[in-house]
Symmetry: C3
Subunit: 437 residues, 3 copies
């Protein structure tokens, strides 16, 4: 691939500004504030009589927790790569900033009020949620895609997500309060399908930059810990106010706590010298939040949530250790961040737990059959949508990086000089000699 | 300048403790809790009858968001310099800790109740706000001033700010809910005036330490992302509860999202190879929050907020690329962090947008003329106050750093040994030889 | 000590999973959601009639602030060591995740409802609080203990804490809203007693890894600043809703602000060249939050809170400079993070301030005598519990690190290769030569 093809100077600004201008035009036509007295967010929950729910900003602290998960959590979680931190946190911000605008449009286009979309804190939370699918998929293709490719993926993935979400919520009436199926499993398998389409045989034997340095692992822990802490908000933000919301908070809190112990134990167990592996700690400790998502607001009892968390922590860690290498070598799926282990399998586990909980009557008005249909729909849309998206992204003019420049910020970013010269933070004799010469 | 003059051992503790003791004495005379049943914060908003607003801690989550912006946001945003992170986050904490105490006094001295200042969450938010002006100005003089100079600047700037704020709010009755004019434009031009007074010809050709390293840019992104996420709280915290507050949240959310796309696009467009520049991403993505401040609580429609964001993102990025070098070379204004691009021009844009919105009747009881007067007042107080403050800080006994020690923590901080020896994270042959010798 | 003894492969997973399985079994028997209409958290405060307090998630934003302090605050505060960041933030997460599960059980086993523990946001806050004692003690033994030892310490310390808390709250009816005595002094002296029992003569002359590098000090500042910002939530989260809670927020806000000035001034004063010391800034700036804890919800007036903050900031800084070395050399107490200066002395100061405030009638229904008894009880349980725990941890089969491997992540963690070779971020000639060979 010739070097000039990765120059973003024209194609990136054009794509970004075009998307933004189209979005603004659609907002000018469709989007208004959800103010006035007829349409409080609480009305969505049938609790309009409770005067203390009437403030339009009641959900705002929950929204901000989710916001932190999207922008700090996902962004810093991916900074573990030694030379890809700018892209991880920077492109994460770009994709989420566009995604939330696009998601808010598509999520609400199905139910206009007088031809308008009314923006409330609740719709902002849902818009943030829609971006999470993209950020999960971003993890699967991290380091191997250009910003232009990723903007297009954002556009297509959120569009696909909104179709599936509409089917799951409005047609199947399935319950998926923490979105194990519609966000986590969907985002993971969408991303894996894209990664399969973009398979790079040249990276079969790994890449020098596909690893961490000491401090990049610490930056990643900022992401991990903020995700871990605020996950109860993710799983409860749009729950029915009152007891259901409290239940979702408590289940997620305990599932994550139990998951952490299981992930640490398993990480030590699978390594010859019993050492902990940062990859497992950064990711598998979060699997309990994913897996308890679907039934977070159901009466599964705290110990039920903890069992789900323990299982999620174990399978996620085992997935990183044993499954990820096999996926890469046998199926041609190069999953940079291991999203299959954090979002894929735990998301399916969450869907299955929801089916079991439904069949045990843990929540009113849901059925095991429709829950299963929702899981199947989410996986189907993800795989087909991801495969089509991957084919589009394979087109040769999106500025994708050559193999040798993968996992390297300097292709798309100005990188500080003394760092660019060495291959890692610690190699600088050459740059030093230059500086002193 | 002789080396001893930068020794802070006596002058810094004396100034810091003296300011603190005077402050405590004034608090002993003037400051009480806003408890009891006659003076809920909600009374300020004329909504006392709404029982659900009556809790004195309703605004506390908003306060904490603003608090995070002040201490994490501003503090880490300035850690981008390779050798000035301790000062950035550490002196930021010092200045804000003193500034909030001083600001709370001066903001409320105009309207005592029975000779007392009653502290509520609302007054804590306003106190935090007052420190933001200083932290913006700090960005203009970052690396070129001593802690003693900065404490004095804090004292003088907050005093000036409170005078201007009183005129804008109480006399002109102008609307500036997100403080584009009274905080952002004010803080920027105050800082630029100080920087002009402290002009250092010796730094005309730059300084070895006036740049970033890879990980310092990542630390700065912590600041950027927290500012970006919580800006809706900054612009809505003191808005009228209910619809106006919701409007301020929504406008800021969309303005920032659109601004991010514009900043990324422009950053790529102005660089020869189309690469993104971390300086733009760290700063210009936030300009939308500044520029939408004045009219955040006005009915400008979401697409109006997005347009403001796009314009702010473009002019801010262009400012970093083209204007900052000219200001330094032609006007003698050395603006370390480029606050003119993040707070100055977007702040003026915000003031202008407010004038337009006022003339279009986007908010009741405000007039374009008074809005314009408020902008003029803010700029005037900033430039004159900043110039006088700069003259005072120019006095030779405040321990200012010699040119060659600018942008270097080790002048005022104990710095870990192996780091001090080299010029950057990556140069350590000398220190290593010493350690091994 | 033979090398194999530190291999965690069997003992760590067994201990971790065993603790988790026992915990889940106990939860299956005892723990239910606090849902339904008879037992809102507000009932604990006797304010059931206030309809706006009735939401079960009212305290959730406060809970999340405390959560951030526990997992980000404590975790990153300890990352200051150059080669121990993985353990600091990682083992912090492990201990807190287990501790909150265990703490919730033991704190509520004293008052079952129909044989059950009902989980609410309030009990989640208290569970998080219980882990803080362990994280404080962790600071005293940081770098010198194995994960297995620390899990056992968590089990024993939280058990001891719950006994003392029961005596202080239920029997002595002492007031300690911000837990200066029951968490801070308790955690510090428990940890110091453990450290005394685990005294290592081999570390008398320090250790190469017992220091910071430039960026590790910046990571630690993330912890410091989040603790500093959210401390008002820590001291007010379980206060009586309304005025008492507001008072606790305000007192803590001002105590910390004044403390910061005092800590900076003292840090500069005690160093020959007047330079600031990161150790002081990272820790002593927080002492005001500890010291104002006991009387945070009492009417001590804002200036009273500020005086407490100033005193705390001064004694904490002096403690780091002068007392810590003496404790190590004369008493054999090697206090890695200096928890005696941040939690120990300021905790006692807080207890004493509570006694004075009680005797001055600053809060109804408390007595100076019972406050003094509570302080004595906390110190007694801490010292005896810590000593016994230390003896148990001294048993030779817990995988404790040999002296030369102290303060080194690589004993218990997979550490990125290029970093492991050098002794710090900046020493890599050897690794480089290898890489180039």
């Amino acid at each position: 691939m010739p070097a000039f093809s990765t120059n973003m100077r024209l194609k990136f600004p054009i794509v970004a500004l075009l998307l933004e201008i189209i979005t603004i035009a659609l907002y000018a036509v469709f989007v208004v504030y959800d103010t006035g007295d007829a349409h409080h967010p609480s009305a969505h929950h049938g609790t309009e009589n409770k005067s203390d729910e009437a403030s339009p900003v009641t959900l705002y602290p929950m929204f901000q927790d989710v916001h932190v998960m999207i922008f700090i959590g996902f962004g810093f979680l991916m900074t573990f790569l030694k030379r890809y931190g700018f892209s991880s946190v920077g492109i994460n911000l770009l994709l989420a900033a566009f995604g939330l605008q696009w998601g808010l449009l598509l999520q609400n286009i199905w139910h206009l009020h007088d031809g308008k979309i009314r923006v409330s804190i609740l719709s902002m939370i849902n818009a943030d949620f829609s971006t999470a699918t993209v950020l999960i998929s971003f993890g699967a293709v991290l380091g191997k895609t250009s910003p232009v490719q990723l903007l297009i993926m954002t556009l297509l993935e959120i569009t696909t997500f909104c179709m599936n979400e509409h089917i799951v919520v409005e047609i199947l009436h399935a319950s998926d309060i923490g979105a194990s199926m519609t966000i986590h499993a969907f985002g993971a398998y969408f991303g894996l399908a894209v990664a399969r389409m973009l398979y790079r045989p040249g990276l079969r034997n790994g890449h020098d930059n596909e690893g961490s340095v000491y401090h990049s692992d610490l930056f990643a822990m900022i992401g991990t810990v903020f995700l871990w802490m605020f996950w109860p908000s993710f799983n409860s933000a749009i729950a029915e106010p009152g007891d259901a919301q409290l239940t979702a908070i408590i289940n997620t809190y305990f599932s994550l706590a139990a998951c952490a112990l299981a992930a640490y134990a398993t990480s030590s167990l699978v390594e010859e010298k019993g050492k902990l592996d940062m990859v497992h700690i950064q990711n598998a400790t979060l699997a309990g939040g994913v897996a308890v998502g679907t039934c977070a607001d159901m009466s599964i009892a705290p110990f039920g949530a903890m069992l789900i968390g323990v299982i999620a922590g174990i399978i996620s860690t085992l997935g990183f250790k044993f499954l990820t290498p096999i996926l890469a070598s046998s199926l041609g799926i190069q999953d940079t961040c291991g999203v299959h282990n954090l979002h894929g399998m735990p998301g399916i586990l969450g869907g299955l737990a929801g089916i079991v909980a439904a069949s045990l009557g843990r929540k009113a008005n849901i059925s095991a059959g429709y829950q299963a249909a929702a899981l199947a729909s989410s996986l189907g849309f993800a795989l087909i949508g991801g495969a089509i998206t991957g084919l589009i992204l394979k087109l040769p003019f999106w500025g994708q990086p050559p193999d040798q420049n993968c996992f390297d910020d300097s292709l798309y970013w100005e990188v500080p000089e003394e760092e660019e010269a060495g291959e890692s933070l610690t190699h600088t004799d050459h740059s030093k000699n230059k500086a002193e010469a």
